[in-house]
Symmetry: C2
DNA sequence: AAAATTAAGTGTTAATTTGACATTAATTTT
DNA sequence: AAAATTAATGTCAAATTAACACTTAATTTT
């Protein structure tokens, strides 16, 4: 049986807001668009959803094609489907992806003309891609307020000053590093390594890595208006 | 010019997880499906996205058709597009909607066979609609941990015991009402009215309403790892 | 080689917030 | 009028936070 015969079909695309952190500031990976319309203009990396794949899968595929990376942290952060947002009706599902800064420099596929830009100072983009970035930023902030996802932007081994400046970037604030460090350490989320990062300071800062068990536990653990104990996560 | 000529098209649908609160527990509004396949089985209210509307618009339309309510609080909470989730390939965008319990009883459209069920004890649903409810619950919890959206489930005038039991429901916990009340009042979010709810207790509890200015201010104001002051929300 | 410099990391303390519990207050029912 | 019920306020010790000072480990300059 063939159902829904008279229902309208639509073009379905994904667009990726690919974010990285260079230790100083957030960056976004943009590409020069390869197809018409708006060919050769800067845009988010995107693509159409194939017939045999989910949108999420499509986003992974597109990301892999550009960066050669798999299993990136990725999350849906909006759906753009206003009629008229492109010449032809296309509903676009937007994902943001977080990439570890230290790996990405050399992995870009040759196939695309791609470039990292400062997140707050990038070229004009096609269609409503600027709005997509805005919602991605917002989702990132909301999510990172509850879940320790910003670690996805850092290498496996990172220092506390690194995390601090990452949080400062994302929320556009100044942190008291001393209090921040103490708070972070008391969470039990970090495991101290016997090794220092000498790149960024004379004294050098100890490397840490994530305690994945605690990482998973921490999810949903800081709910406002609620006592912090025992939230049933079913 | 006609772009994207050779790209595949797909059926795009919306499904709505409609939640209400009856003072005691959360409820979900389900409908008996009107079309094949799976006709006459219980399901989420849904519909196809028309050619001239955005998915969000489609969800509003579908919601209005069922409840006659407009401007409901509504939020995307997932995209279900695995090939094989239905007989035919359909990508479904899921929204959850929050409805004020005191209004909804008499507004249901005659056109649909719809019924409120306890959220934790509802009939089996078609396709992957159960999963949709799970993600809706999860999104609700995450969102409500940062934003005071649960008020959307209450009437304009509400009492503190009402909010407390709502939070108890959503997070499946017991609250110390005394501490909860103190915390809530100190947020400045509530404006005390000169009127009591006598329905639910002998003494009666004072009604409050939301201070919308503070409500908007509160957004993003309780960030873990960050000092609570001055988060630039641009 | 000593002194200056830089940024990391640890301490200290007062103020605030939280959690646990007790009491008082307003109303209806008996 | 007493009993029952639930709202609302109060108390206090413990925990957490914010603000600030100091020490430490290394490198660079003199």
């Amino acid at each position: 049986m063939d159902f829904y015969k008279n229902e309208p079909q639509t073009l379905l695309a994904v667009d990726c807001v690919i974010l990285g952190f260079n230790g100083e500031s957030l960056e976004i990976l943009l590409v020069k668009r390869g197809i018409a319309p708006e060919r050769n203009k800067w845009s988010l990396m995107g693509g159409f959803v194939h017939e045999d794949e989910s949108p999420e899968k499509a986003a992974s595929r597109v990301l892999k094609k550009l960066t050669n990376l798999e299993d990136l942290y990725m999350e849906n952060c909006g759906i753009f489907g206003e009629p008229g947002r492109e010449e032809r009706r296309v509903v676009s599902i937007v994902y943001f992806a977080l990439i570890d800064a230290t790996q990405y420099r050399h992995i870009l596929s040759e196939e695309y003309e791609a470039k990292w830009f400062p997140l707050d100072k990038h070229p004009k983009l096609i269609f409503d891609h600027e709005d997509m970035i805005s919602t991605a930023k917002h989702t990132l902030r909301t999510k990172a307020a509850l879940y320790p996802i910003l670690f996805e932007l850092l290498p496996e081994k990172f220092t506390i000053p690194q995390i601090a400046s990452l949080y400062e970037c994302v929320y556009n604030i100044d942190l008291d590093k001393r209090n921040f460090s103490r708070k972070l350490l008391s969470s039990g989320l970090l495991i101290k390594l016997n090794e220092k990062d000498k790149e960024n300071s004379r004294k050098g800062a100890f490397f840490y890595r994530l305690n994945m068990d605690i990482y998973k536990e921490k999810i949903m653990s800081f709910l406002r208006y609620l006592p912090s104990w025992s939230v049933d996560e079913s």
